[in-house]
């Protein structure tokens, strides 16, 4: 029996597969750092949330539209798929650390209730922000100041309304933007 490929294990997400292949050492360091955080109460969930925000780095480069069109999906389905893949991979990779943290410090386990939705928001924000400014003619686009503040919103509660507002704005812009290249799917 053949071993499933990394791409398949990561739900056919090119961003996550590429990042794990390119930055094996960094991924291992993050895992080690998370383990080191485990004995300190409250710290593991903060570190996990920080890791979710850092996942923005996976969604910087603009691929060719031919690659976007590969799954033969319309804009909204493609965006949903990308977000679900990001959630699936992030939670699959971080759940062991979260469980260990909850077992070590049962009194802090309630934080998981805040960590999970905030991490999910951070990942959805990263995907939507990328495709809101997707331009097939440029390899990548730098994040605007507003986008940076928005990304910080999951770590700094006063900025959370900005993050939520930008997420909705980016979702609408991303769908409109991708629709130009994928309009005849769906």
């Amino acid at each position: 029996m053949t071993r499933p490929s990394l791409l398949r294990l990561l739900g056919y997400s090119p961003e996550w597969t590429g990042a794990l292949r390119r930055h094996r050492a960094a991924a291992a360091s993050v895992a080690a750092a998370l383990l080191l955080c485990t004995p300190v109460p409250y710290l593991p969930f903060g570190a996990l949330l920080l890791a979710a925000v850092a996942c923005r780095g996976l969604y910087r480069r603009h691929e060719d539209p031919a690659l976007l069109a590969l799954p033969r999906m319309g804009a909204s389905r493609l965006l949903t798929r990308k977000i679900l893949a990001a959630w699936r991979n992030y939670f699959a990779l971080t759940l062991p650390a979260a469980l260990v943290a909850a077992v070590f410090h049962p009194r802090t386990a309630w934080i998981a209730a805040a960590w999970a939705p905030l991490a999910a928001l951070a990942l959805a924000y990263a995907v939507l922000a990328k495709y809101a400014r997707y331009d097939p003619c440029s390899p990548s686009a730098g994040a605007s100041q507003a986008e940076r503040w928005g990304a910080a919103g999951v770590l700094l509660p006063p900025l959370l309304p900005l993050t939520l507002w930008l997420t909705v704005t980016y979702a609408l812009a991303a769908e409109r933007n991708l629709d130009r290249y994928l309009y005849d799917y769906d």
Partner: protein, 225 residues
């Protein structure tokens, strides 16, 4: 039939394509030739839906070309960083609408590509080979290729020619932009010469063969198959 009707493409400061009109037959190989800056790439990008025309239109059977039927392979394809050639082939295969695995394997093995190494370390020519294979795996109705064989060695060029010729029985329309038309001209059905954003000349059939023979400096020996 793909109809390009008085198409004009502009950037903020210059006109890339100026009122070009063409009628491109289905299932044929069309070469867009011309020097750098002639507007070939801009025209391909407009056909791929990446550029909005300032005026005019590009339609297929009377309606705009849609992403489902067109694949554009740019001169320097941007593939997902970190993925290996095999990953990208696996992605293309996963979403392939039908066709046999054997055909797919044959396409993947056509070029001698280091499929297990990350694509960002590959030369542009190799990335173009992989992008070409991924494009053909999708079995599109129209394939747009920008300098598809530039930088290829002789063996890879032969392979690319073979792959493009194999698309003919399927009725795929191939539109190829190149600065060196002689490399592929013997396979072409039509040659469209652009310069300065305008269409200068078009060659078809015997006229194309005669032009090729004149360019190559030998007698009329017909087109290769």
């Amino acid at each position: 039939m793909i109809t390009i009707d008085a198409l004009t493409l502009r950037t903020d400061d210059r006109t890339l394509v100026d009122g070009v009109t063409m009628h491109l037959a289905e299932g044929a190989l069309h070469l867009l030739a011309g020097p750098a800056g002639a507007g070939k790439t801009a025209l391909l990008e407009a056909l791929a839906g990446l550029r909005r025309p300032a005026s005019g239109s590009a339609t297929r059977f009377g309606r705009p070309l849609c992403p489902r039927e067109v694949v554009y392979v740019p001169h320097d394809p941007r593939l997902y960083a970190g993925l290996t050639g095999r990953d990208l082939a696996e992605l293309a295969l996963r979403y392939r609408p039908g066709g046999s695995e054997a055909d797919a394997a044959a396409l993947l093995g056509a070029f001698d590509l280091p499929l297990d190494t990350p694509v960002e370390g590959w030369s542009p020519a190799r990335r173009r080979q992989l992008a070409l294979v991924a494009a053909l795996l999708r079995s599109p109705a129209v394939v747009l290729l920008d300098e598809p064989v530039e930088g290829f060695d002789a063996a890879a060029r032969r392979t690319a020619r073979r792959l493009l010729l194999a698309e003919r029985p399927r009725g795929t329309t191939l539109i190829v932009a190149t600065r060196r038309p002689l490399t592929l001209a013997d396979m072409a059905d039509e040659l469209h010469v652009l310069a300065g954003g305008t269409l200068c000349r078009q060659y078809r059939g015997d006229e194309l063969v005669a032009a090729l023979c004149a360019a190559q400096g030998f007698g009329n020996s017909g087109k290769s198959s």
